[in-house]
């Protein structure tokens, strides 16, 4: 037993000096390895972090320090660019003059009129931009120069919008970032920062109610309430970098980007030439430009809410046509309503009317179609759709009438059977009398 224990102890025990030797070496090696790794990784991070611009300017209060604080959200920073990539200079230098050395390319703060070119330094360069976002356009500065903003800027007017007015500066986010000032949901507000301020816009002599009007429009409802990002905001009609109101004769083209069918029909109609000659803005003459409301049937015809009577007077062809179009559409709607009512009644009573209800949809389609076709301003065109639809609605109405008639037929049938039942009762009574007369009293 003792011998066994001794043998075990002997085989597991490490010689004292060898043990110390191992521990010391492995411990030291580990320490050295860790230190090397730390130094290797820390260096570049440290080097990136070594941004004297940010280091100094964050310590400063107010406007001079804000850029350094807001830069952390910037899309340029996240792509590895920094202050010096726009402003020049040397961020590795702690000394102010060394960092801001013009010989190191320091540009400082650009003048307002130079901002487009300042940003364009990179954003016009296709091969440079390819490294970051191959699909991004590189003609923004060129577009901007065609815009009202660009044109006015060239005359020296510094109140107009430049790149940084819309995109921000130092905390610039990508357009697809929901917090960006040019994210679709935020565009209108951004434009309104200037265009909604009467004091700011005084010298430009254009209205400042566009934003307020737009907020009431059906487009704003789609965008803000339904969160439909495809709904138009300022830039979809006016352009974003080449921002200018569309020419009077091109409004239909702009609206037609989405409302293709209506635009197509309008441009083939008599109104196009007339409107262009008279300087009306095509679509916006009837639908307004910023406060576009959901159109109702009241817009057409000769009623007081109609847009037709703003030009057409009683007696002229247009007035008559407007009245006719409204009349036939209303007629179809009335017919559909009648059909729907009778079919509902029959259905509630328990009659099978799913086929007429199905067919009524065709008539309802006709109404939707007709409402688009009025853009041809031709009663004949509208009637091409209304005519057949009225036929369908009349057919379904007849089906409803037939169902109700069947209901009444059953009723009459049952009343007839009543007489036979009464007849039987009388016969039984007579038989009873006969039996009783034969029985002992």
């Amino acid at each position: 037993m003792d011998k066994h224990r001794e043998l075990v102890r002997a085989s597991t025990e490490v010689p004292r000096d060898r043990r110390l030797h191992d521990e010391r070496w492995t411990g030291a090696a580990k320490l050295l390895l860790v230190a090397t790794v730390v130094m290797i990784t820390a260096y570049p991070i440290g080097a990136q972090r070594k941004n004297s611009c940010v280091e100094c300017h964050t310590r400063l209060e107010g406007k001079i320090g804000d850029p350094a604080r807001s830069i952390k959200d910037d899309v340029h920073l996240s792509r590895g660019l920094s202050c010096n990539d726009c402003h020049g200079g040397d961020p590795t230098q702690d000394d102010k003059d060394a960092a801001k050395d013009p010989r190191k390319g320091y540009l400082g703060r650009p003048r307002t009129v130079d901002i487009p070119a300042f940003c364009g330094k990179c954003h016009n360069d296709a091969s440079f931009m390819k490294k970051f976002n191959p699909a991004l356009r590189v003609d923004q500065e060129k577009e901007y120069s065609t815009s009202v903003h660009g044109q006015l800027l060239r005359t020296g007017n510094e109140k107009v919008a430049t790149c940084i007015s819309c995109h921000g500066v130092h905390g610039i986010r990508a357009v697809s970032d929901a917090l960006s000032s040019v994210y679709p949901l935020n565009v209108a507000e951004t434009c309104a920062k200037c265009h909604g301020q009467a004091a700011h816009m005084a010298e430009f002599k254009i209205p400042t109610d566009q934003y307020a009007k737009y907020k009431q429009s059906v487009h704003a409802k789609a965008l803000y309430e339904r969160q439909d990002l495809s709904a138009p905001t300022c830039n979809d009609c006016h352009g974003n970098h080449g921002a200018a109101p569309p020419g009077i004769a091109s409004v239909a083209n702009v609206c037609g980007q989405c409302h293709a069918r209506q635009a197509e029909l309008f441009q083939a109609s008599a109104h196009k030439v007339a409107f262009d000659n008279m300087g009306f803005g095509e679509c916006i003459k009837c639908h307004n430009n910023h406060d576009i409301a959901a159109p109702t049937d009241e817009l057409i015809g000769t009623g007081e809410k109609s847009v037709c009577i703003s030009c057409h007077k009683p007696g002229d062809k247009g007035f008559a046509a407007a009245g006719e179009m409204r009349t036939i559409i209303d007629g179809l709607l009335g017919q559909i309503e009648k059909s729907r009512e009778i079919l509902d009644r029959a259905e509630r009573a328990g009659m099978e009317v799913s086929r007429p209800k199905f067919e009524l949809r065709e008539a309802i389609d006709g109404v939707t179609h007709a409402r688009v076709l009025i853009h041809t301003s031709s009663t004949a065109e509208v009637d091409k759709v209304i005519g057949p639809a009225v036929g369908v609605a009349a057919k379904t109405y007849k089906a409803g009438e037939d169902a109700i008639a069947e209901l009444n037929f059953r009723r009459k049938g049952l009343i007839v059977s009543l007489f036979f039942i009464l007849f039987l009762a009388v016969l039984v009574y007579l038989k009873l009398r006969e039996i009783e007369s034969r029985q002992p009293a």
Binding site: E347, R348, A349, G350, M351, E352, L407, R410, R411, K412, G413, L414, I415, S417, L418, I421, L422, L424, A425, V428, Y429, K431, L432, I435, E436, Q439
Partner: protein, 354 residues
């Protein structure tokens, strides 16, 4: 000759002749109030109509929230004469409850519940509850807007009963709300539970009537004629039943039962929801009770009151034992009965006009 052999064959095995002999002896008393004797049989006839039309409807009806309404629609539109069977079923239900009330009140006023007929009365009251149960459960089955909300309101009221109310409500509804589970459950009650109970209780009720014979009101005891049941009274019954069929056909023709609109549990209740007419007097009464009576909920008091009324119905034979010895008590019971009857009629009418 062949009929005789057949009769003898049956008699040897089933003792038919004893039955026919007893049947031949069955007589019906004839006096001024004999007309009321028809109403029990009429109720039974209408119950048979319900069973037959009910079984026919069962061939096509589907008891789930998704299918019930559509299956009734199917019966009314696609099945041949489906509209007729369904209308008759709905109308006969109402007619049966009406004849049942007439039967009950006539028995009450004639004091036919006296000894030895107490159990006949008790089984009759049980049949009243069963019939009302049939009506309430059946009303939900088409799963249309009106029936859904009527059931909701009705079970809400049941839930107001103190102590047992919540359990009762959950038991009836199959949950906390009226859902497809309620429908399936009511269907089970309507086509299985209640028919089984009804069969047993009807059998007891009718057998007891055969056992004790028809009751004759005291004042006619000394002078009344008798009429044989087979075939005389039965043929008169038959005339009544044929006329009842006529009435049903007329009602189905003039006032066909509507399909309505499919129930939507999330839609608000339509205005003016009211239960079927036989619940209306209670419903209307509850509307008039003030919200609070002393410290108790008005509704609870109302319901307890009606439950008490139902219980009182059951024990009437035991509290009005020998009315002939106590003419004053007789009068009290008569007056009480008239008041109740008038109250029911007036409240029902008001309920409809309101």
């Amino acid at each position: 000759m062949r009929i005789e052999t057949f009769k003898r064959w049956l008699d040897e095995r089933l003792s038919i002749s004893t039955l026919t002999r007893t049947a031949q002896k069955k007589e019906v008393p004839l006096h001024r109030q004999s007309i009321w004797y028809y109403f029990g049989g009429m109720t039974l006839f209408l119950f048979v109509v319900q069973v037959v039309t009910g079984i026919l409807l069962l061939l096509y009806y589907r008891p789930s929230a998704e299918n019930a309404f559509e299956s009734v629609q199917f019966i009314m539109t696609e099945v041949k004469f489906g509209w007729l069977v369904r209308s008759i079923h709905s109308w006969s239900a109402n007619l049966m409850i009406l004849t049942l009330f007439i039967h009950m009140f006539s028995v009450y006023f004639m004091r036919a519940y006296n000894r030895p007929r107490e159990l006949t009365w008790v089984s009759g009251v049980v049949l009243l509850f069963i019939s009302v149960g049939f009506g309430f459960s059946g009303y939900l089955l088409p799963w249309n807007e009106v029936s859904f909300f009527a059931t909701k309101v009705g079970t809400d009221i049941a839930g107001v009963i103190p102590v047992a109310g919540k359990t009762m409500l959950r038991f009836l509804r199959g949950g906390d709300e009226v859902t497809g589970a309620t429908l399936t459950r009511f269907f089970g009650f309507h086509v299985a539970v209640l028919p089984a109970l009804a069969t047993v209780v009807i059998a007891i009720h009718v057998l007891l009537v055969q056992l004790h014979g028809m009751h004759v009101p005291t004042r006619y005891e000394q002078n009344y004629r008798r009429m044989k049941f087979f075939p005389n009274f039965l043929m008169r019954d038959l005339i009544g039943w044929i006329l009842a069929i006529g009435v049903l056909a007329a009602l189905a023709a003039l006032f066909p039962w509507e399909l309505g609109v499919k129930a939507d549990p999330f839609a608000p209740a339509p205005a003016g929801i009211k239960p079927e007419w036989y619940f209306l007097f209670m419903f209307q009464t509850l509307k008039y009770i003030p919200a609070k009576i002393f410290m108790f909920d008005g509704e609870v008091i109302g319901i307890l009151f009606f439950m008490l009324g139902g219980a009182a119905l059951l024990v009437i034979p035991f509290i009005n034992r020998s009315p002939d010895q106590h003419p004053r008590r007789r009068m009290i019971f008569n007056v009480f009965g008239v008041i109740v009857l008038l109250y029911i009629i007036v409240m029902t009418v008001i309920g409809y006009l309101a």
